[in-house]
């Protein structure tokens, strides 16, 4: 124990005036006795110690002297040099990647890392500051540099591990930013490894590494896919990897919509893999699970990668077929320009391709055999099975919008379109087709559902208008194609969605909102007003179901699914590293020796204040029990009634 300010001990001399005041101000209660003779005899031996005798058993004085002693000692700032105590700026990089959830150390590697971080905070010097960086796929600073140990402890205790890989490059960049202005900086990495070898690290001061983890025993599913084949029967591919040093046998269970469909034993050699391929698999959502053989103990120390999901996606069956005897350059060009559309053209209805298409556009013609797809009729002939068409006539009136909020009408400005002639369409008696636009009171655009098909009809020849020259033209066709092919498109950056990956969802044009049903049965509703929805809360592995529709009416327009899987060799390989190899420097657990100082003045000062409070309470209690003056403090505390 050493003192930072030993001169402050001189304040201990304040004890002398306190004692003197006690001796001088001691007030005694007068008591009449029959005789003082015997008291004199009893006091004869006490005479030599008389000044101190007065102070004996005076607990108030003793408490005041103890409080003074504690406060003076606190002023002297006692401290102790301790190894492992960090001074200056400390940055803790807390690995929160998926492998930190391994349970080879109880209760988990992440909990152990939290304990290590808390231990570091406990030994933090008084003048030192610390910050904590949560290292996951998107490293974040949990708490800015501070010397508030309670806030640091709270930040460390409340943080949670993720199922993502750690982005160590970004983490070190954050760490470098935090230590840039510090004269003395220490960066502590608490991790089970998983850092890329020879990682370039910016200047972060002294680098220390606290390893976590013991075991490398782990098997995991590294691939799971249902792929379409030429005969339309999906093929299942499963690959499992053994990262441990011992051969492993496990039960592979396959569930279709949570019902066990197939199970088999697989043997995975140490540091090897096993791949299973099965044909003629049902096109459904699949869950694969590795479990220990019957009667065996837990399969490994990292169960998160023992389960995987996949969703079957049928191949795209076709695109848009534009059938026109004469052709229309404007239409062909606008179809070619639309994304997600593969446009084909046919000259005659007599020779339609055998392959199905999503949308058929018949311009001035109708097929003799009605196709199995959505249909757009442009300038239909009089002899068509859907609607009565009048004779082409000149335009005398103006365009009137009937259903401005229909998806086909979105952002389409009909006011600038000029018509040379049009063929008035009759209103459908069964009300299957709704008029969207009328001209001279007669419908020229109809849309609706006939049977199970969506049908849109433009009752004019595009070449008889200046529509292709208007901005409304590509918008109209885009709306028409989207309305005719209702589907929620899920776009991912690759074939595999890992926890934390962003998923872009393009809802159906007719949907007002999308609802995401998460694996934990949570329901997330996102309005579809902005077109594409980027969903990033994919931390939980499992199957996510995306439903688009109208939440007010409950109408479901379309549904789709995607699966999130761990599938990370970096995280599944849980073998702990004992040494951290970076380009700037090499840090290992042995390099962690450091020396700082721990100060105790806060605790001692708190003790002094407690003593003062206790002394006050004791005084008040004595005052209530025996109302009499006893100390020099009486004057400013208030004279008790005698």
């Amino acid at each position: 124990m050493q003192l930072l300010s030993p001169l402050a001990l001189a304040f201990a001399l304040l004890a002398l005036p306190i004692i003197l005041l006690y001796m001088l101000r001691l007030r005694r209660r007068e008591q009449t006795v029959s005789s003082t003779v015997l008291w004199q005899k009893a006091l004869q031996d006490y005479e030599a110690n008389r000044p101190w005798q007065r102070l004996r058993r005076n607990w108030l004085l003793l408490l005041q002297l103890l409080a003074l002693l504690a406060l003076v000692f606190a002023l002297a700032r006692p401290f102790q040099r301790a190894p492992g105590v960090t001074s200056g700026q400390l940055v803790i990089l807390l690995d929160a990647s998926a492998s930190m959830q391994a349970t080879d150390v109880a209760p988990s590697r992440f909990a152990r890392a939290q304990a290590e971080a808390l231990a570091l905070i406990d030994t933090l010097g008084d003048e030192a500051q610390a910050s904590v960086i949560h290292v996951a796929d998107r490293p974040t600073q949990l708490i800015a540099p501070t010397s508030d140990k309670r806030a640091l402890r709270t930040a460390i205790s409340e943080t949670q591990p993720t199922l993502t890989e750690a982005d160590w490059t970004a983490a070190f960049a954050l760490s470098s930013a935090a230590t840039r202005s510090a004269a003395q900086a220490t960066t502590v990495v608490i991790s089970d490894g998983g850092l890329p070898a020879n990682l370039p690290v910016p200047t972060v001061g002294e680098l220390r590494f606290v390893p976590v983890g013991q075991s490398a025993a782990n098997v995991g599913i590294t691939a799971l896919a249902l792929r379409a084949t030429v005969n339309d029967q999906p093929q299942l591919l499963i690959s499992a990897q053994n990262y441990g040093d011992v051969d492993q046998a496990a039960t592979l269970s396959l569930f279709l919509d949570e019902t066990l469909f197939h199970a088999r034993q697989i043997n995975i050699p140490a540091q090897g893999s096993e791949t299973v391929v099965m044909d003629a698999w049902p096109a459904a959502t699949l869950r694969a699970e590795l479990s220990p053989l019957s009667g065996a103990a837990a399969l490994d120390d990292f169960p998160l990668d023992n389960v995987a999901w996949t969703v079957y996606r049928p191949p795209v069956t076709g695109g848009v077929l534009y059938v026109s005897a004469e052709g229309n350059l404007f239409v062909e060009q606008v179809l070619a320009a639309l994304p997600q559309v593969q446009a084909f053209r046919a000259n005659s209805v007599d020779a339609l391709p055998a392959d199905p298409f999503d949308v058929y556009i018949f311009d001035g013609v109708v097929p003799q055999e009605w196709p199995d797809g959505e249909v757009l009729l442009i300038n239909p002939p009089i002899s068509n099975p859907l609607v009565d068409v009048g004779i082409s006539q000149a335009v005398t009136g103006a365009v009137t919008i009937q259903q401005a909020d229909h998806p086909i009408q979105r952002f389409v400005d009909w006011g600038d379109v000029n018509f040379a002639a049009y063929s008035p369409l009759a209103t459908d008696a069964s009300a299957q087709l709704q008029p969207l636009v009328t001209l001279d009171g007669a419908p020229i655009v109809l849309a609706g559902t006939v049977g199970r098909q969506r049908v849109a009809i433009l009752g004019f020849d595009i070449r008889q208008t200046d529509l292709p020259l208007q901005v409304a033209f590509p918008i109209l066709f885009s709306n028409l194609i989207e309305w005719l092919t209702p589907s929620t498109v899920i776009q991912t950056t690759g074939d595999i969605v890992r926890p934390g990956d962003a998923v872009t969802i393009l809802p159906d044009i007719a949907a007002d909102a999308i609802v995401i049903l998460r694996p934990d049965d949570a329901r997330v509703e996102v309005p579809a007003v902005s077109g594409a929805v980027v969903y990033t809360d994919t931390a939980l592995p499992g199957v996510y179901e995306v439903v688009s529709g109208n939440p007010e009416t409950g109408e479901v327009v379309d549904g789709n699914r995607f699966a999130v899987n761990l599938f990370s060799a970096l995280e599944s390989d849980i073998a702990p590293q004992t040494e951290l190899s970076v380009v700037q420097t090499a840090a290992s657990a042995a390099d962690s020796a450091n020396e700082g100082r721990i100060e105790y003045w806060r605790w001692i000062a708190a003790l002094g204040l407690l003593l003062i409070l206790f002394e006050w309470w004791w005084y008040q209690r004595q005052r209530q029990l025996t109302p009499r003056p006893s100390t020099w403090l009486t004057r400013w505390r208030g004279q008790p009634s005698a």
């Binding site: 006795v33 029959s34 005789s35 003779v37 005899k41 007065r54």
Partner: protein
């Protein structure tokens, strides 16, 4: 003030007799057997008549000739002069606010009881309040008991008492030695030796009874105190705790041992009594046990 004695108290006292250790110079007829030889019908001397003397022993011839009463004395029976000296200083009037344990009241009661015993055995009884001018007696005979009780009831504390001076003056005035029973607390700043020595020098037989109140034997004081002596009005500052209370009791025990040793060396009797002890118990049991009464 309640009556000092009840009838039953007096009846129990009538069975007792005062005992004197020393040789007595008996001058008057009494009920005690004489150590000296002689006949009960043999004339020995005349003496002045004192109040309470049996008129049958009055020499009427001499009274007719000299007009003064004289008593004829015979040698075979003798009386005992008993002097009861009561310290009525302010320290004896303690506790002042508690009649039950008041030392002066207790001492007066003891004096009354012992006097009554003496009157019953035809002893010559005289009561003196130290420092006071009006003694009671000398008297003899039980018919003086009422006067005795009245006198006792009149006594109050005397503000200033010089213990040794009072005893020396008493000894100087004394015409005949006898049994002196001294009732005091002996809590005296100036000591007690010279006074007692003066009594003993006169040939008296001394019985000293120290009367103490319970709070003097086991004080209950505590804390920082300024003790005021009720008699001398002097102050003494003390911080009383358990340790000091123990020391006080040790000092009291040492003081009593010193008094006892002093008395034994001079063939005197010393005893102490707490006012918490019923006076009947003290008289009937304690004083008989130590031979003051039989």
């Amino acid at each position: 003030m309640p009556p000092l004695f009840t009838d039953s108290d007096l009846r129990s006292l009538e069975q007792l007799m005062l005992v004197s250790r020393r040789v007595r110079n008996a001058a008057y007829q009494g009920e005690r057997r004489s150590a000296r030889r002689g006949s009960s019908i043999e004339f020995a001397d005349f003496r002045n008549y004192v109040k309470g003397d049996d008129l049958r022993h009055l020499d009427w011839n001499l009274f007719a000739r000299l007009e003064k009463p004289f008593i004829k004395l015979f040698e075979d029976e003798e009386d005992l002069a008993v002097y009861l000296l009561i310290d009525a200083s302010l320290s004896m009037d303690w506790p002042r606010d508690a009649v039950q344990h008041n030392k002066l009241q207790y001492a007066l009661r003891l004096a009354g009881a012992l006097s009554y015993i003496g009157l019953g055995t035809d002893d010559r009884i005289q009561l003196d309040i130290l420092g006071a001018q009006r003694p009671f007696g000398p008297v003899r005979g039980r018919n003086q008991a009422l006067g005795l009780l009245d006198w006792l009831a009149e006594q109050t504390a005397t503000p200033t008492v010089m213990f040794n001076d009072a005893l020396q003056q008493f000894a100087a005035r004394q015409t005949r030695p006898g049994l002196v029973i001294l009732l005091s607390d002996f809590l005296l700043a100036d000591g007690y030796q010279s006074g007692i020595d003066a009594l003993l020098a006169r040939g008296n037989s001394l019985t000293a009874i120290q009367v103490l109140a319970p709070d003097e034997i086991a004080p209950q004081l505590n804390g920082d105190l300024r003790l005021i002596d009720v008699e001398t009005n002097t102050a003494r500052e003390v911080t009383v705790d358990q340790a000091l209370r123990s020391r006080y009791q040790q000092a009291l025990a040492a003081f009593q041992a010193e008094l006892n040793a002093y008395a034994q060396q001079r063939d005197a009797v010393f005893t102490t009594v707490s006012t918490a002890v019923p006076w009947e118990t003290f008289v009937l049991a304690n004083l008989r046990a130590i031979g003051v009464l039989k």
